[in-house]
Amino acid sequence: MKLRDMTELAVRNLREAILRNSLTTLGVAVGVASLVAMLSLGVGLQQLATSRLSKSGLFDSIFVTPKTNLRGPGAGPPATRAAAPKARPLNEEAREELTKLPNVIEVYPQIRFFTEVRFDGKPYATMVAGMPESSKASGSFDGMQGNFFSSTTADEAILQTEFAKELNAQTVSLIGKELVLRYAERQALAAQPGESNEGGGFSVVPQEKHLRIIGVVDTEPASGFGGFGSGRLLIPLLVAETLRAAQVNDLRDVLRGTSGDKPAYVSLTVRVKSPSLVDATEAKIKNMGFGAFSLLDASKSLRIFFSVFDLLLGIFGSLALAVATLGIVNTLVMAILERRREIGVLKALGAADSDVKQLFFVEAGVMGLAGGALGVFFGWLIGQALTLGTNIYLKRQDLPGVQISAVPWWLIGGAIGFAVLVSLMAGLYPASRAAKLNPVDALRYE
């Protein structure tokens, strides 16, 4: 029999015992719903964790530092120490070289300096941090008061809430106002006749910069490993770079003789296209003579954790589905008893054993398909309810809302496919039992 005819007959048969078959289908739906709800929770939590982490730039970033030759006691005799090669400076030239590496999206320095801000005629000491344009995507600026920087070179500032409160308790009123950044500009000393400036010193010149406050944000986005010591006043990275503010490493570079007329960076953050490219790029950077490290291993552990977590959730979710399959077996075995004579008629009219088997198989499959589709919908509903409940709780705790469940396409397709597969397996025994019925006995059955 053709599949279309078979399906029509199967659906017709299922409609005949509508209540019993609906209940069986509902059983499958509940099983699939529990599976989908569990897995959507796992997927949702994984997405929540990984999106926060990937937005933070921790897993697609490599943190590059100059290769320091720190040697502790017993590291070798002074003669050996003297022979140690001079560390390669992490300067503009190095930055350009890093930018040209394949798969690198951006290379930006960590610029942070402690300085004084004047607002409303009063001085405030604070930490200034340069923010790359990409930090906007980190999610930390979501829900901020005001706006993100209008351009990469705008003389604008975003204040961290705690600092903003020091300036004015009504933080919103600060937006649009101006503050003055007082900082020490690092200027290279002119080279003396007969001397190269390499390894020379620099002078520090006090400067001022007027900045307009355009926003207030709760926390500074994690901007890599260099982000120790939170910035309380955030300015565009390009603006921070043009300030040429003296940083903590400048003095060290002078002492080491690595200071040049151009500033060297404490560290550079190299972002690559995807976490999978981190390893290869990190190796290349190390070959260039810099120190480099990444947090990719932590990301791998996270993925392993969530895989195991999903597996466990899937197993628990599948238990209800396993019970539902028993329902299918029961329903179909009952159907064989009820339709014994009908099976005999079908065989007398020329149905092969395989036709009868397939008919019961399709009936099981249709129940699986309907139960699967319904179950995905129920599972999605449960996920939404859990998210809603969690968000109500979080809101009461004054925390931002999150989406803790997610039903991706693969889960929808996988769950329905799994339900159909399990139903077909449940239909195996009844179908083969129906196919084996002796037509003469079946026709005699009252």
Binding site: K2, K347, L349, A351, S354
Partner: protein, 249 residues
Amino acid sequence: MTPTTVLHLQSAFQLEHACRHYKMGETSIRAVDDVSLTVPSGEFLALLGSSGSGKSTLLNLMAGLDRPTSGSIVAAGRNLAELSSLELARYRRETVGMVFQSFNLLPRMTLEENVELPLRLAEVERNDRAARVREALEHVRLTKRMGHRPSELSGGEQQRTAIARALVNRPKTLLADEPTGNLDSATGEAILTLLREIQGNLGMTIVMVTHERPLAEQFADRLATMGDGKLLSTAATATAAGRAAEARQ
């Protein structure tokens, strides 16, 4: 071509020492015991006998619903005893049509759907099905009741529907197991008149199991009487003799 092959081609059924024995505990029941019988193409044969004589078992063997324990049953040139279950299903689908005492229509299907069922099994194209169903229903004069369910029809109409269902795949042979058993005598006679008419129009072979000798004598060409699983006698009916005389004139 050997004489046996010629005989096979001319006969709808050729039974040689066909047996169907059952085991019930230690006892062996000989439901059909060494039956040899030839049914020529186009004949209307009535199988007569008391209850338990083995006539229905013999019909089931001829229908390919059951297999002989020994012996051979050659139909349409093939020994049914040697066919696989798949080939037997095909034989039931294409070569024979069956009519039962209790009609065996599927109650949830309309008359039209019941008649269409063998076409689904034979994988006949959907476009051709409506015409085939109508043709079969025209033979039994039931085209006006196509949308009705079996429960809405009389016994005679239900049996006519079952006959239409048996005819829809245009088989060469019609096998009827007590087709008038559940009907009153007038309706039973009408059904047999219809069968006779169909046999004449379509040139079909009909093998009918019945215990109503008068009806069998009135409509069948030949009577085969069974008892205790054995074929006791075969005899041409007066009807057949009359028809032969008519033909000679």
